[in-house]
Symmetry: C2
Subunit: 208 residues, 2 copies
């Protein structure tokens, strides 16, 4: 199909489509004859994936390119692909405090976690704990175990779903999309659950 | 103290401090005499809060101003403050699909959630489910229950911690900071837990 038809089918403007090709996110179309490009159904599927990572996952164009290259690389072990997807969200600069890293280590030990010290999540979580400490909101730091236990349950379900995928391509898509968009899914559900929990904690009126 | 001393104590540049005053995030300093401003310890504490919301929470200056105004408003019920903090992260535009909203409604019913239909989390979570559907990654959509159950446990622990706070000021800080920074805390812990779960799921070597 021509770029105009691809635009219509996908809801993505022709300018964006050409931009994604230039930036290496979308494969170049086949050239058929003079000044005419031919896009296929693979381009439609790839455009959906690009928009999910950019718009919902909030990735930069550069991070999206890196994640897509990892998805496309059939030689890349799935664990390495997961690491790439995990690193696609910005990680805070600087070294986290030892206290915060130690607190995360303790809760990880209690849950039997085996992880490399360069896991990007350590920096992200430690930075939050540091701010809780600096703000003298120890109550929030005390929630670490509840958050970690919940993260453990979610991650085990995610890994089980990925492991059950039939082939490498599907597994790669599940890991990349699930890792990136899962932050947003949890953030949304947590907001709903907070309102529900606050409702339940409220003193009940007799007419309620 | 003078602005230079406040800058040194807080690690925030004088330019940023003056910018926060202009933008209404930081209260104006007392004027003592001609061309001299006096900042106090309340300014140090407020600067920490501002930087937590901006740098770790990733809020815009405008969203930070809104959240801080809600924290400062002693007349505002805590549930309304929570709603303000919840809305400080960008919510996707447009209407989510009925199918996605219905799926969230079903899982919420199964967990006994009572929420208003304008809860911002519904839009955020529904948008992710829509993309899972469009990408034909039903496996990821099947994780909704695991994510919602985890969000429920986290939110109940958060509400309990906030409810146990002694006074309104402290409760307000816990709700605002916890709601905004909690997304990042969970995102970090989920990345650690994913690596741990992948490690456990890996075929074991005899030498392991």
């Amino acid at each position: 199909m021509r770029v105009s038809e691809l635009s219509q089918q996908s809801g993505v403007s022709t300018a964006s489509i050409k931009y994604y090709v230039r930036e290496g996110l979308l494969p170049a179309p086949d050239r058929v004859g003079y000044n005419r490009s031919e896009y296929g159904s693979a381009h439609v599927a790839r455009l959906r994936l690009i928009r999910s990572l950019l718009d919902v996952g909030g990735l930069s164009v550069s991070a999206t390119r890196t994640v897509l290259a990892a998805v496309d690389d059939d030689e890349l072990p799935i664990e390495r692909l997961m690491g790439t997807a995990q690193r696609s969200i910005p990680v805070p600069e600087g070294r986290p405090s030892r206290t915060a890293v130690a607190a995360i280590g303790r809760v990880g030990d209690s849950l039997g976690w085996h992880v490399q010290p360069d896991n990007p999540g350590i920096l992200i979580a430690a930075r939050v704990l540091e701010h809780y400490e600096a703000l003298e909101l120890q109550e929030l730091a005390s929630l670490l175990e509840a958050f970690a236990t919940a993260a453990d349950a979610v991650a085990r379900a995610e890994v089980a779903v990925a492991a059950a995928a039939g082939d490498r391509d599907r597994m790669a898509a599940i890991v990349a999309v699930g890792t990136v968009l899962g932050d947003s899914l949890f953030a949304g559900l947590r907001r709903i659950a907070q309102e529900a929990a606050a409702h339940d904690a409220r003193p009940q009126h007799t007419t309620d």
